[in-house]
């Protein structure tokens, strides 16, 4: 059955009556005196006897013009005709791998059903019909490029796993329709419990909706006594629930309680962890349709924080501030070589003579790396900070305006971001070539910054940005300065390990898509990241129909013969015919008009 890509274009068919009206207006007859109409009357009677054919001939131009309009309008409606027996358009299978696809409201899970549907569709593809596979997780991922290798495609579909992340469906669909075979875009099939917002995508709806209770947020904070408190938010989606909450730290149960939640509401629960360090796990007992969000994991205490190496002359103020900000520990030295710098997760170089920096994370105080893209144009005797960039993570809750600085290096950065400046940049963040650095180009002793309340906040932000936060959301893909290390081992929450190689001075981690603790270990240091909860947006298991997207089924994909080019071709031919008819008529008239 023919389908129309833009049926609204058919409104333009209303032009046809307009043409007919114009035609009728145009047909005003010219009076011509003849010797006698005797024979003309007889001829007219003869014509009337042959009226049907006569009318057709007489209105040939009009018919051609109507046909031209009809062809063009139909072409604008973008019709296509599915034909069996032809190699169909390429197909891009987009499978939602987000956390909600783990829901068990359909057996075995939504993701399992999506796999089955995708496999069924794959089995019905034509033998020469190319297909691709895209996983729609935190980031869309082209798992299999367009191929006719059914075995590879089937194996890839079976190998996919649902994650604890959210889904970027629109990006995945955009990736799908950008795939082209023989110059034509692929037909995108989305297997998901969420409708796409884009038109033209065939959505195979998965799941039927179910109530759910979820831990949607888990954070820690230190109270005034230095004790860690775990803050949990529990949401009930769909119906009221009574669940048992258990919190343990490294397997030791520290808290248990019963939680009652009204439907559609949330509860925030504070749990005192104490002064222990480790990994706290909160669990909700009792089953629901999505077990993945019944669990939350957080790092407590100093577990997972970076070690900091301070190189330079002793600075009590700096030491005091570094001791106050969250780190796993601060080591001070005056003798460390650049090779040793690269082995520490975060290095603070305090007025060290400028020299090339090995890959790593640096806070540079009153100094610079000679391999950084910056020019030094002397010093500035005195300046006051006038502008700051508040959106950068380093400047969160930091306002340096009014801070006075003496003897700062006059930097002229050629890359990175200037975060604050007076007469010259005074806070510069740079990331490139394996180096992540924040530069304060002045001596802390020659500024009133250290007396300002924002100084510890600034240093804490700097350390966190340099080391990277250990609390990450599901699907984050941290990039870690590798320092002098070339290899690292990544262990995921299930205990599986993978070896990462440093590239351009960094370890690029894959998306951390499971709730739990990830460890990246080199021979010299270990970094930890904790994915606390599944993406909160995934916990609602309602499957609502889309107002703009119709649900499709994984029906056999037929070749869609697009009729627009053919129709435009026919319209072109008709225009040529119409022109020819008109020119012929005109030529005849001119010929007749010539005196004999």
């Amino acid at each position: 059955m023919m389908t129309l890509g833009a049926p609204s274009a058919l409104w333009a068919l209303s032009l046809i009556p307009l043409v007919i009206i114009l035609y009728m207006l145009r047909a005003r007859r010219e009076a011509r005196v003849v010797p006698s109409v005797l024979l003309w009357e007889r001829a007219t009677r003869d014509l009337v006897a042959r009226l049907p054919m006569r009318k057709l001939e007489r209105n040939l131009l009009l018919l051609v013009q109507i046909l031209i309009i009809a062809m063009i309008v139909l072409a604008l409606a973008r019709p296509s005709l599915p034909l069996r027996g032809f190699a169909g358009d390429a197909v891009a299978l987009v499978i939602d791998t987000s956390a909600s696809m783990q829901a068990t409201d359909v057996a075995p899970t939504r993701f399992g059903v999506a796999q089955q549907e995708a496999l069924a569709l794959t089995a019905r593809l034509g033998p020469r019909q190319p297909a691709a596979l895209i996983a729609a997780g935190a980031q869309p991922r082209l798992v299999v490029e367009l191929t006719t290798d059914r075995a590879a495609l089937t194996a890839a579909i079976r190998a996919l796993r649902a994650t604890d992340t959210g889904a970027t469906l629109d990006e995945a669909v955009a990736l799908a329709v950008s795939l082209r075979a023989d110059g034509r875009p692929a037909v995108a099939y989305l297997f998901s419990d969420h409708a796409p917002t884009q038109q033209g995508v065939r959505w195979v709806k998965i799941g039927k909706g179910a109530p759910n209770v979820a831990i949607t947020s888990a954070r820690t904070r230190l109270d005034a006594r230095g004790r860690t408190q775990l803050m949990l938010r529990i949401d009930a989606f769909g119906e009221a629930a009574t669940r048992q909450l258990t919190v343990d730290v490294d397997g030791r149960v520290v808290h248990q309680r019963t939680v009652q939640i009204a439907p559609g509401s949330a509860q925030v629960i504070l749990v005192d962890i104490g002064e222990t360090s480790g990994v706290a796990t909160a669990k909700l007992s009792g089953g629901d349709a999505l077990p993945a969000d019944d669990r939350a994991v957080v790092a407590v205490g100093r577990d997972g924080l970076p070690q900091v190496l301070v190189v330079g002359d002793p600075d009590p103020v700096l030491d005091a501030v570094l001791g106050a900000v969250p780190t796993a520990g601060v080591t001070r030295t005056t003798q460390a070589t650049p090779e040793q710098w690269g082995r520490a997760p975060v290095v603070v170089l305090d007025r060290v003579a400028p020299q090339p920096l090995p890959p790593g994370a640096y806070l540079l105080l009153g100094t610079l790396g000679t391999n950084m893209p910056v020019q030094i144009e002397g010093t500035i005797p005195q300046q006051t900070v006038r502008t700051v960039v508040g959106t950068h993570p380093v400047m969160r809750l930091v306002d340096l305006r009014g801070i006075r600085i003496a003897g700062a290096l006059a930097m002229r950065p050629e890359a990175g971001v200037v975060l604050a400046e007076g007469e010259a940049p005074v806070v510069w963040a740079y990331e490139g070539h394996g180096i992540r650095a924040v530069v304060l180009p002045f001596d802390l002793a020659r500024t009133d910054l250290v007396t300002h309340p924002t100084f510890p906040v600034l240093i804490a932000n700097v350390i966190e940005w340099l080391a990277g936060s250990s609390d990450v959301s599901a699907g984050a893909a941290p990039i870690v300065p590798a320092g002098t290390w070339t290899q690292a081992e990544l262990r995921d929450p299930s205990g599986a390990t993978a070896t990462l190689a440093a590239r351009e001075g960094v370890f690029a981690l894959p998306p951390l898509d499971r709730v739990g603790q990830y460890r990246l270990r080199t021979r010299g240091w270990e970094r930890r990241w904790v994915v606390s909860t599944v993406d909160p947006a995934e916990s609602s298991l309602a499957v609502e129909p889309s107002p703009t997207q119709t649900q499709a089924t994984a029906t056999p994909v037929l070749a869609q013969i697009r009729l627009t080019p053919h129709l435009l071709g026919v319209a072109g031919a008709l225009i040529a015919l119409e022109w020819w008819l008109w020119a012929r008529t005109l030529a005849r008239r001119r010929l007749r008009a010539e005196p004999s």
């Binding site: 005003r28 010219e30 005196v33 010797p35 007889r42």
Partner: protein
């Protein structure tokens, strides 16, 4: 003076000389009351011997063949064919439609009439002329002899196209007006809304010998029209809306041929000689060739 000049110029002197060798033919001979240069069906006082018959009381002794009497001892009188003239009526359509054509049909008709009239006058026939529209608009009574040539030409030269045409009406009036039967040469485009049947029947009824010369302009045979037109009749003002294209041209051709066929059938049925000619045919050819072939002149 202008009319005279125009009349004189109707025919070239050389052409007139060639016409003098021609004679108007008639299937029947009509008694005009005076001797002409035509052998009459009546045996009488002519010079050409025809037969003998026995003498009857009252016969003129001058025609008794005394040689036969001397041999056979019986009286026989010699019979001679009596030479008679005929009446020629030139009936010229002067309606408005005759103004069409290149040359105009009326000019062509006038020249044909002039030629035929001259032939008649040169052969001592009585030649009269009528310019008719829906009646005999102008009439030149029959006259005899070469002396009538200039009068005839002047009459023909003054004919101008005007009004509607009605052959039957014109003939009805004319036949009531004249008792001289003879050859009735009708020169017309035959574009009569009332048709020609009544007119020709009337002529036959009054024992005229009609000869129909049907003149047509090329644009009537093959109209050079194109587009959406409202055709207006030059005589009646009647209008016909047509879309002149190939199909219409074909239909016109069919209507024309059918009309010609009807005219031919009618003439055959009423024993009317019929000759159709386009004005594009050279005038000399029409007179010296086609009219001779048509049996009007010899």
């Amino acid at each position: 003076m202008d009319q005279l000049t125009r009349a004189e110029l109707l025919l070239e002197p050389d052409f007139l000389a060639r016409l003098e060798r021609l004679t108007l033919l008639s299937r029947r001979l009509y008694r005009s009351g005076s001797r002409g240069e035509r052998r009459s069906g009546t045996l009488g006082r002519g010079v050409e011997f025809a037969d003998y018959r026995s003498y009857q009381v009252g016969d003129d002794f001058r025609y008794v063949d005394w040689n036969i009497y001397s041999r056979l001892d019986r009286l026989f009188v010699k019979l001679f064919s009596e030479e008679e003239d005929i009446n020629v009526h030139l009936f010229i359509d002067a309606s408005r439609s005759m103004a069409w054509g290149q040359p105009p049909k009326l000019d062509y008709a006038v020249r044909v009439a002039a030629a035929l009239g001259y032939i008649g006058l040169a052969n001592l026939d009585r030649v009269g002329a009528v310019a008719f529209t829906d009646g005999p608009a102008r009439v030149l009574p029959p006259r005899r002899g070469r002396a009538g040539t200039l009068t005839l030409f002047r009459f023909l030269g003054e004919i101008a196209p005007e009004g509607r045409s009605n052959l039957a009406g014109a003939l009805r009036d004319y036949t009531l007006r004249t008792r001289r039967r003879g050859v009735l040469i009708v020169i017309s485009d035959l574009m009569f809304p009332q048709g020609i049947t009544d007119g020709l029947r009337l002529a036959r009824y009054h024992r005229f010998e009609p000869f129909l010369i049907h003149l047509l302009a090329d644009e009537e045979l093959t109209p050079a029209l194109e587009g959406d037109l409202r055709l207006v009749d030059a005589e009646t003002g009647a209008a016909v809306e047509v879309t002149a294209d190939a199909a219409t041209a074909e239909a016109y051709g069919r209507a024309r041929d059918r009309y010609f066929g009807e005219v031919e059938q009618l003439c055959l049925r009423l024993q009317v000689e019929y000759l159709r000619a386009a004005t594009s045919i050279p005038f000399d050819d029409l007179v010296l060739r086609y009219l001779r072939q048509g049996g009007l002149i010899a």
